[in-house]
Every structure is written in structure tokens, then in C-alpha cells.
Symmetry: C2
Subunit: 726 residues, 2 copies
């Protein structure tokens, strides 16, 4: 802007300020959640004033020749411009105080000369430092790669969003885990399995011709939290995804994602050689099958030179796999791995298996199938293990495979979408759940052998490391079906980068970025978030119960279901409640699933007194009159927990109402309406569950406890056609 404008007329000023207000109002109105954590609304005046002298110039050497550096420049201009109301000047060299230099040692002699500790940063890490260069003070973002610069630049923007001082900066950060991926369970018809935020964001039909700007925003949002890969399609995969027509579509997306450091992966259907290859078999031992996969890999890498690899669900819930031909999971995984190896790709082979004809406790089957294969997987195979041994329940113990396969890289599979935690409508912040699992100690190599150390590779010296989150992303304007669901995507990314981060810390960052830094808002909303997951546990599956959801769609309670063909599909299989007691005996007297854990975890889980009440009924079948820590007996405690869960949701609603003056109308209302749904459904869960368990236990309700609103027959008769995500 020219600096020699003289004092213009009052009218012009009025017009300008008026228009500014009008436009600002329009912008503030549009709090539709689309921007996620790339929300660059103006900060408070004081914060803006503080930051401005420090963000005058932006210097990014080599920007002309790199799409990643261009993306960095665009993001910093947009982000700083939005947040402090004045974009830095893009400069070719440092010209004064308040510069931001974004450069690698390779792209800047100044950085080389500074002799910074770059080695520890690795390929993706970065350094952000207050620095003096050429007689001027400024901020340096440096890294060994452009991707590192990208992550560092997003970190710098986050510092502004969380109102952190830029003075005296000395931040060094690098990711602890190599593969930090989203898994999309998206189908080619744009439906999303367990998706509750609308249709798939991948518009397969119009790809590769039409590139929705949303694809770029998806890449930006993921890069901002350090996610570096995405599996586009459902693990229940169609072989069509591997046909040339669909590979062209995937390649167009890969092109959009590439500057943001996001590699593309595909779920591969094991029987694709038969379905789209015209072969008679998909047997790993067949040379024709091996050749087919090699050619398929060549075909893919021709289109997507940095293709990441395959995710495979095999011999699980009806999917084809190597066992169809009498081969092991290792043989199946190695088949694909050998096709990808020449190109640098990996196979992520899922351990989520349980079998129709296997009478063994479902919680034990994955371990039984996989642990004997330790050492048989090729170097570029990583086994992807769900956080718990069953299936993304509100609470499970950590999966016994973690720590049990020292010769095999294991990656974590978390679910971000809330298949079993109230879909998109319930507020449940999953940070504490991730934290609980990551910090669990497997004792595989003695104390301190946390799940984190298994998946970051440090426990057993693994080179290949990974973590995946099943996405909660859809075409809804706010991406995730509610404002607070965005926090689950966010915390997954942040913890994937640094599994030691506390859930509360990340929640606080997210709240500042998403709403404001008003202390009252932060305190109130943080309370809600941190209490929310335990509330779901309490009103759905307290005390270590699991899988009590209605059949198939998993919407609402169905503890009474006991007539499905496969035993492990029935909630009754999991709770085992009868006149005498409740719970699944997984001790040596029962299924002995505890034996899959290392000493002393096995002893702890096997002990009624030491296991902890949160997992009590996961491991133990106990009489209704079992005495609990509270002094209540088990029956009373169960009822108490259901009541507590409902009460917690009521408290969350009250707390949210109190924040009304501090939140824009659009997001306030949306959350308030969803909390009303959640309260109604929590009450339904509580009432239906108590009605059912009382019909089994035949015990009276404790004094003062409200009876269920309806009788059991009512709850059993409810039907929900057209349930989403199913």
C-alpha cells in the first residue's frame, strides 16, 4: 500500500470503516466450521499489536521452484494476514527486523552458517528459533527437508493461534512415528462405512477432471497437524479401486496432496487378481498372482511415483485373504510387499481378525493368529492393530499384541469416527482414550514398555513405525458432523506426531484455535471435553462391559440381543449376565485371555482387586453382590454408573449453556442441539440398560434411583431403519 496517502475525507473513512464492519460481520456469521484449525480470524487487538513487529517480512528462498514452498508461503501470508490483520511482505532477502526466514541449510547460506543442530530433526522435524541474521532480528524456521519446513510453518501459525509469545523462541520438534495416516472407510459410491458426516469427500465420479478446492483444504488441515498419509478407500475394498480408471482418479488426488507431504495409500482387495485381473486364483504361491501384483504395482507407481502402499483387511468379516488358499497372513502380506518393495512401498496388514468357526474368545483370536507369525513378515510389512482386542469400544484394555511381536513392526489403529461412541451426535473427546492406550504399560521388556514405545519402534528397535486413525470426515460443511468432533481428528494428528502430548493440552490448544482464548470459555469447554468420554463409558458400557450396542448399525442399546448366528455378534456374548452375576471371565478359570499379556500385567488383570473397576467386567464374571470400592454391591454400582453417565451429560449441557455469551450463535446452537440429543439418548441408554439388566438380575433398584421411563419390551421393540454409516 502506498504510504503517501494524505488525510482523506471523513466520508471515505466512514465508508471504509462501515464496510469493514459489515464484511467482518458477514465473516463472523459464517462460523460454519469449514476452516477447522486453519481458522485465521483476527486475534484480539492486543495480540495483533504484539505480533506485528515480529512478522513484517517473509523470506522463503527457492519458492519459485517448489510447490511445497509455495504452499508454505501461501499459508503464512493467509494465516498471518488473517490473524494479525496484516500479511507480511514477501521478500527475496532479509531487509529489516521482524523477518521470518523459512529455509533449509541447502536453500540458505545463512542457515548453513548458523550451524544449527539439524541432525536430530530427521527427515520431517523442524527448528523454530529467534535469530539475528545480517544485523536484523527475526524468526527462523528450518529443517532438513521442505516437508519439515511445512510442519514448522504450521507450528509457527499455531503459536499465533494459541497466543504464544514469539520472543526467545527455541523449538525443536520431530515426529516420533513414521507413518501418521488417516484411514478412510469410503466406498466408491461415496457412502462411508461408519461415517456420520455425510457422503465421502472423494467425488470419484468427477475425478480426475474436477478437483474440488476441498481436496486442497483437506491436505492443508492434515499437514497442519502432521499427518503424512491417507488411505483413500474402505478396508472392505472394491477391487475396482485398482483399475486404471480409478487409479487415474487417485493420481489426481495424489497430485493435490503431494506439496503438503501427504502420501497416498490404497486399501487393496486380496482377491483383485481374480476380480479385475481375470486370474483363476489369488493364491500367494501362484507365480501368475505374484506377477499380477508386480504389474499392478508398476502401473500404480507410473501414475503415483510416491505411492505409499497398501492397507489390507484379509480373512476378516468375510473379506478374502491368504487363508482361503491355506496360506498364512504373513504369506499374504509378503506377496503384496514384494510387489511394492522395488518402489519403496509398504503393506499395512490389519490384525483385526476373528473367525466364524473359531469358538475361542474373540478377544484372543488376533493374538493367536498373529503372534506365531512374528519374524515371518517382510521388512516392508507393518501389522496394523486396533487399540483394543475387540473393536473400538468406549473402553477396552490395550491390545495384547502390543509388545508381543518383537520382530514385527506394529502400528496402532485408532478410530476417530465414533462408531460405538454415539456417532457424530454425542460429544465425546477421544484424547483421553488415546492417551490411556498409549501410556498403558505392556511390561513386554519390563516396566516402562508402554504401548507408545511399541509403536514408536523404540521398544524393539523397529525402523518402520506407524499410527492410523479411521477418519470422521465427510462432505458436511464442518467436515466431521459437529464442531467438537473436529477435536478428535485434531488430537489424533497431534498425538501421532508426539504420543506423549497430554489430551488436555491438545484440547486447550484446539479450543483456543477454534473459539477464543477467553479464560472462562477455555475452562468450561475443557471441563466438558475432558469429562465427555468417561460419560459415554458410563451411560453405555460401564465397569468394563463392551459391545452392548444394537446389532449392525451400533446405534443405541441392545444388551438383550442373543439370537444372532455368530456368538460374538451378540451383546449377550460379551456381558454374560444372568441371575447370579455379570461379566466375561477371561482369567485362567475362563477364556484365559489374560495370559496373552506379559507379567505382571497378566496378574493384575487376573486379579479382581487389582484390575481396576474400569475394566473389571472385561476380565471377570462376578456375582451381583460383589462388593465394590464404593461400598455398593456390583448391581448397585452398575446402576450408579448408568446414572452417573446421564448426570454427566446433563452437567455438560448446563456448562455449555453457561458459555452462550462467549460463543458465536451458529456454533453455540449446533452444539446445544446435539447435547440435547445426547442427553435424550444417554437417558435411553441408561433406562434400557437398567431395564434389561434388572430383568436378568431380578434385583430391586437401589433406594432413590429412578425406574426406567418405559418397560423393557418398549426398548426392545425400537427399530431404526436408514441408520447412517451402516
Amino acid at each position: 500500500m502506498s504510504s503517501d496517502v494524505s488525510c482523506l475525507s471523513r466520508n471515505l473513512l466512514l465508508v471504509a470503516t462501515f464496510l469493514y464492519s459489515a464484511l467482518l460481520a458477514a465473516t463472523v456469521n459464517a462460523e460454519d466450521g469449514y476452516d477447522l484449525w486453519l481458522r485465521y480470524q483476527p486475534l484480539e487487538v492486543e495480540a495483533r499489536d504484539n505480533y506485528r513487529p515480529q512478522l513484517r517480512q517473509l523470506v522463503i528462498p527457492g519458492r519459485e521452484d517448489s510447490r511445497t514452498l509455495q504452499a508454505i508461503g501461501d499459508e503464512l501470508l493467509r494465516g498471518v494476514g488473517g490473524l494479525i490483520g496484516r500479511a507480511p511482505e514477501m521478500a527475496s532477502r532479509i531487509r529489516g527486523d521482524g523477518f521470518v526466514l523459512v529455509a533449509t541449510p541447502g536453500s540458505s547460506a545463512d542457515v548453513r552458517a548458523a550451524q544449527l543442530p539439524m541432525d536430530a530433526l530427521g527427515e520431517e522435524g523442524y527448528l523454530i528459533r529467534a535469530i539475528s541474521l545480517r544485523g536484523h532480528t527475526g524468526t527462523l524456521v528450518t529443517a532438513n527437508s521442505e516437508r519439515g519446513l511445512l510442519y514448522g510453518s504450521f507450528h509457527l501459525l499455531r503459536l499465533l493461534q494459541t497466543r504464544d509469545a514469539l520472543v526467545g523462541l527455541d523449538i525443536s520438534s520431530s515426529p516420533r512415528i513414521g507413518l501418521r495416516l488417516l484411514n478412510h472407510w469410503d466406498n466408491l459410491d461415496r457412502s462411508v462405512e461408519r461415517g456420520y458426516a455425510g457422503q465421502s469427500i472423494w467425488d470419484w465420479w468427477n475425478l480426475p477432471d474436477v478437483l474440488d478446492p476441498r481436496y486442497t483444504d483437506y491436505a492443508r488441515a492434515n499437514a497442519a497437524i502432521g499427518i503424512n498419509g491417507t488411505v483413500l478407500n474402505n478396508v472392505n475394498a472394491s477391487a475396482d479401486s485398482l483399475t486404471p480408471r480409478y487409479l487415474d482418479k487417485a493420481a489426481a488426488l495424489a497430485e493435490v496432496f503431494r506439496p503438503y507431504g501427504i502420501r497416498m495409500y490404497l486399501s487393496a482387495r486380496f482377491s483383485a487378481p481374480v476380480e479385475i485381473g481375470g486370474l483363476e486364483t489369488a493364491d500367494p504361491q501362484s507365480p501368475a498372482v505374484q506377477r499380477w501384483w508386480q504389474h499392478k504395482a508398476d502401473e500404480i507407481y507410473q501414475r503415483i511415483p510416491d505411492f505409499g502402499g497398501f492397507l489390507v483387511k484379509a480373512n476378516s468379516e468375510g473379506q478374502p485373504g491368504p487363508q482361503d488358499y491355506g496360506r498364512s497372513h504373513a504369506e499374504g502380506a509378503n506377496l503384496l510387499a514384494r510387489a511394492l518393495a522395488p518402489h519403496g512401498g509398504v503393506v499395512m496388514w490389519r490384525a483385526f481378525v476373528y473367525q466364524q468357526d473359531n469358538p475361542e474368545d474373540r478377544a484372543k483370536q488376533a493374538y493367536s493368529d498373529f503372534v506365531p507369525l512374528d519374524g515371518q513378515f517382510d521388512d516392508n510389512v507393518i501389522v496394523q492393530v486396533k487399540n483394543g482386542p475387540i473393536d473400538f469400544q468406549p473402553r477396552e484394555p490395550f491390545h495384547p499384541m502390543f509388545g508381543a511381536m518383537p520382530k514385527t513392526p506394529l502400528m496402532m489403529e485408532f478410530q476417530i469416527t465414533k462408531e460405538y461412541l454415539g456417532f457424530a451426535s454425542h460429544l465425546a473427546y477421544l484424547g483421553p482414550m488415546y492417551e490411556e492406550v498409549l501410556r498403558a504399560d505392556t511390561f513386554a521388556e519390563g516396566p516402562g514398555s508402554t504401548v507408545t514405545k511399541v509403536i514408536d519402534g523404540s521398544l524393539h528397535g523397529q525402523r518402520l513405525t506407524g499410527i492410523a486413525g479411521v477418519a470422521n470426515i465427510g462432505r458436511d460443511r464442518d467436515w466431521s458432523g459437529s464442531t467438537f468432533n473436529q477435536a478428535n481428528w485434531y488430537v489424533f494428528g497431534r498425538m501421532a506426531w508426539n504420543p506423549d502430548l497430554a489430551a488436555a493440552t491438545v484440547a486447550r490448544d484446539w479450543l483456543k484455535i477454534t473459539f477464543s482464548d477467553n479464560p472462562e470459555l477455555l475452562a468450561g469447554a475443557l471441563d466438558i471435553m475432558l469429562a465427555s468420554r468417561q460419560a459415554v463409558v458410563d451411560y453405555m458400557t460401564p465397569l468394563g462391559l463392551a459391545h452392548l450396542m444394537a446389532t449392525g448399525h451400533h446405534y443405541g442399546p441392545g444388551p438383550w440381543v442373543s439370537d444372532l448366528a455368530r456368538p460374538e455378534w451378540n451383546p449377550a456374548y460379551y456381558h454374560r449376565a444372568d441371575r447370579n452375576g455379570i461379566g466375561f471371565d477371561r482369567t485362567a478359570e475362563g477364556s484365559n485371555a489374560v495370559a496373552q499379556y506379559a507379567t505382571p500385567v497378566v496378574e493384575k488383570f487376573a486379579s479382581r482387586s487389582r484390575v481396576g473397576e474400569d475394566l473389571l467386567l472385561w476380565f471377570h464374571h462376578l456375582p451381583w453382590d460383589h462388593r465394590m470400592n464404593s461400598g455398593r454391591d456390583l448391581w448397585e454400582e452398575l446402576v450408579y454408573r448408568y446414572d452417573r453417565g446421564l448426570a454427566e451429560v446433563q452437567e455438560m449441557r448446563t456448562q455449555w449453556q453457561a458459555l452462550a455469551p462467549l460463543v458465536d450463535r451458529e456454533r453455540f446452537d449446533k452444539t446445544a442441539r446435539l447435547l440435547a440429543v445426547q442427553e435424550r439418548e444417554a437417558k435411553w441408554w441408561r433406562d434400557a440398560s437398567i431395564a434389561y439388566f434388572q430383568s436378568v438380575s431380578a434385583r430391586p433398584l437401589p433406594d432413590g434411583v429412578a425406574p426406567p421411563a418405559r418397560d423393557l419390551a418398549y426398548y426392545r421393540a425400537l427399530e431404526f431403519p436408514w441408520t447412517p454409516g451402516h
Copy 2:
């Protein structure tokens, strides 16, 4: 704003203007099409300056007590504020020049005193007048009802959007047709039959709790173009839509729509009494069935007091209907009509029927079924007839039922979604197609008996009148899958209000509102729009051919298909091409479908020379060497038309490219990419069709005509799984 601000410092001004520019840039960037024709971006400076003195105050008496008046006030504040950069002051009385008074004679003594010609306006019409009241000059929007005020207010906003002068205004307008409806073919699982713009906008799962702001914007957009009703669910209906759970959801939407004058209708499945009522039959003669529908109507009106009525697809393409019980369409329609009559509801009974076991020319069947029933329908039944006798083809003659049922109200069913015109990706402005049908002369009561006069009720003195458009609306951010598809929704609404409007006039309005009033842009884009539908006809189904699309999904060419179970499912049924000639003989020598039209239309259509080449092969089977007006023989002309269609698309692309400097980047690119798709697919249509017809005609290509790029076998082998809308 205070007017005593003194000349502030240069810095403040700079900040303000800078922020204004920054925010404006942000706003302009976001040309994502969401705003449709409610796009209130600032007009050019000169236009703003002209309008401001005329839009100083807004007076809406009674606004506190009416949701419709509140909606009007909000819209005018927002619209005027956005367009001219200064919202009028909301005032309780006229206080100076430049007022806008929005009032009925009932709400304003001034309006009563003005003695305006209100009678002709009817229930929904309005008057917009320059007027002097209480010594001040201003603009009056008046009407007999609040709905009329709503339409008048949107018209006033449109005047600004099209940069029309407000001086000397004297506009009187009332709708020619009573029911102006959208039909959504939306399913309860959120899929949309023949929908190409994403999932259904109705989030059934989260209704009634969550009311997406989009529902309000939907109502605003429709009210702005005069649409006054909507059928929420697919004509291939699930009976679940009539269950209490789904009625509660519909009622929540009705509540949102009500202030905008939009009544809700539902598609009713004829067999609902069996499926959700537990009855053994749905026979119209069964008293139990009659009672069931009466109770169902009561149940609906309890929730939705202004419920509009039912749309029914019966005995058509597998849907249940009265003929299942040996009853006529009239008996079926009257069953539902009698249940609705006490509440003031109507039945819209579709005439789109053709039957599996009926060897008669499909084009004749609806007429044969329905015309004999003329006079047998209850007063609150209106028969809904597609524009042509087959099914939404790029070009059809008008449906012979129009004019042929003098005792029965007939309503028009247009398709806005482009099932047979290239889905969402091809640019095809449908205004000229609607115009062609509406202006067609049925001669039912002598010359001038246009289709318009049938559906506006004037030809046969019908009280109940209607027009429906099958919506092209989905969850895509731009609602319709492309910018130009929005114009089809827009022109449908405008023509439903006034069927005499010219397609070109409406296109021009739409372009001004959507882009700008730059003359070069208007001229270029108008050319594209007006040529576009004929281009589709030429490259898909020239010379009166029809239904040559691939089976089921209707994507791409399939003229070779001849092996489907039902004859009328096969393209070969429609083109009847062989070694000797091509076309469907519907003269007296053939199916005699021509006889369903009135004299002299029948003679015109029966005449090879008078029918016109656009419909030639619809009515005539002709030898390949038939001489055409151009001097070419029929074979050469067919090839020429395919070439012409492709060339037109190429020209459209060139024209659009020339507009690049005049259109924002986001919308320019999106349209440019879609035009590239359209060109590729037009070439595919042209090549595949010529390859096929040449294989039949065995005639050489005319000199200079490019041969198809591939052989016929290639085109026949193409497969398109996962096609949307199917």
C-alpha cells in the same frame, strides 16, 4: 453510525481500508456458489451511489408478530446492505425520503388510503410502486398477503441485482400457476435418484433435532423465485416416510419453510397401509384402507397444519397402485384425495405410466390410461404429466395429454436435474426447452391453446393449477453440481411464476445476479447458455431420436442396446435403425401415436415435410437417402448433426475461455474443467453413435467427416460402475 467523527489520522484510515480490502478479497475468493441468486455482493460504485438515496429506511408494520415479515426484514437488510454497502435503517414509520414501505392494506392505513388496484393481485401477487406518502417519496411493496409481500420484496432485491432503476416504479405481478413445486427424488438413506450434486440435503437422521442453516437458505432461495411448495421424498417412495418418526422430522422442516411461503408435500407409497399399517390390502374399496388414510391424514395435519398433500407414482415401473386391485388410477387418486380433502390438501397423481405387458407404443400408454378417466377425478386431484410422452429426453414433442383432458386439472412435470442431458457435468441451459414446451400449441380448443394455457388453467377453466420441477439439488456446496446448473433451478422457478417469460430474459437476469453486468460477459455467457441445449440434442439424440443412453444409469451412449427384457428399455426400440432407414413410425401406418394429438397437430406431426426436422425421427421411419432441407440425405444429415453438436461444445469452450478475465478464478476454473469433460463426452457420443449407426446403415461417411476415434467394439465394451444417481 455517528456523523460527528472528525477527520481521523491517516493511519486509521489506512488500517480500515486495508482491512476492508483484505476482507473483500477473502469474500471474493469464496465464490463457491453457495449463495445462488441470494448473492448480495457489493454492486459497482455507480450503482450503489444511485440506489442509496432511495433505500434509506425500511418500514414493515407488524414485523414483531410475524415470522414472514421478520424474514422479509432480514432479507432486505441483508440484501440491500450487501448490494449497496449500507443497510437501510429499520424504522417504525416513514421519516423521510427514500423509504421502503412493505405492507398490506391491512397492516398500513397509508396503503389502504392509497386505493391501489389490489384485487387483480390475488393471494400471492404484489405491487411495487414509487409513491409519495406523508410528504416523502419512497417505494411501496404491497400485496394482499404476507406471502405476496415476500415475493414483492425479493423482486425489489432483484431489481438491484439486475441494476434496474427504482425511479417511477410501477410493477404488478402475480403468479399464473397455483402450485409451483420442486420434486425431490431423495431417499431416506440420503441417496438421490438422478441426483448428481451429492447426497440429499435432508439430513433425515439428525432431524428434527438438528436444523441445518441450509434448510433456511433453501427456503429463501426458493421463495426468491416464487416456488411455494416442495415434495421432500422420492416418488419411488418408502412407506417409512409416513411413520410418526419421519413425520416429526418432516414437520421440523415445514416449520423452517413456513415463513417463506413454502408448503410441504410428501410422496406417498400406495401400499403404505400394508407396509406400515398392518393391513392385508391397500385396495381403495376397502373401508379399512380408507380409514387408514383418513387417520394418516389427521396424523399429518396435526403436525403440519398447512401440509400440502401427496404426490403419487402408482402402477409405474414396479410401484404399487390401484390397478393391483383392479381399480383405476382415478379410484386410487380419489382414495387419498378424500382423506386429504377435509384438511385442504391435494393429490398430485403422476401420469408417468407404461406397462410391462403392454405391447402398445410406450409414447401412447399414459394417454391411453388416463384420458378415458377424464371427469372421474375428485376436485382436489391434479394429474402430473411429464413434458413429453416418453421420459425427459433432450427433446420430445409436448405430451399429448395436454389439452386432451378438459375436465381434469393437469400439472406439468419438468426435470431440472439432467438425467438425460449429461448429468451435472454438461452445461445445458434448460430454459429454451421449457419455453419450447410451454409455448407449444395443442390446438385443443383451436389455435392458441398452448400448453401454458392448459397448465395455468385458462384453457379449460381449471381452479387447481400446478407445475413441478424435479430438483437438481444436493449437498454440494454449490447446491447443483455446477454454477450453470443453478440457472436451471432458477429458470424453472421464474417460468413457474410467469410461463410467458423468455428463456433468454431469465438467463440474462441470472447472469447479472450470478456474475456481473459486464456487457462482454453477458453477451458471451448468454450465447453459451442459449446454444447449449441444442448442442446436447445434436451430440446425443439429433433429429427427433430419443432414449439412446446406456441402460439404467443413462450415462453415455448405448444405441446398440437391444437385448433387455422389456422392449421399451432398449434404445433400439426407439431408433429402429436398420440397413434401410431409421426412426419410429408413429403415423397411422405405424403406432399411430400422432392420433393422440388434436387437429391440426396430428396432421403436422404425421407429415414428413411439416413435422420439422427436430422431431422428424420421433414420428417417422425414413430411408437413409431421404432428402433433408439442407440438401443432404438423412444419413449425411445425421452425421452432420453429431458433428455440429460436438463443434458447438468446442465453441462453448472457446467462448468461456475468452471470459476468463471477467470471472473469478474459482468459478471460471470449475466451469472450464466441466466444459473439458463435456467436450470429451460429446466426442464420445458423436463417435460411438456414428460408429454404431454406420454399422447398421453400412453407408460411407460423407467426405471430410472424421471417422470415429475407435471402433464400435470399443464403445460397446465400456462400463461405468458406481455411476451416481442410479
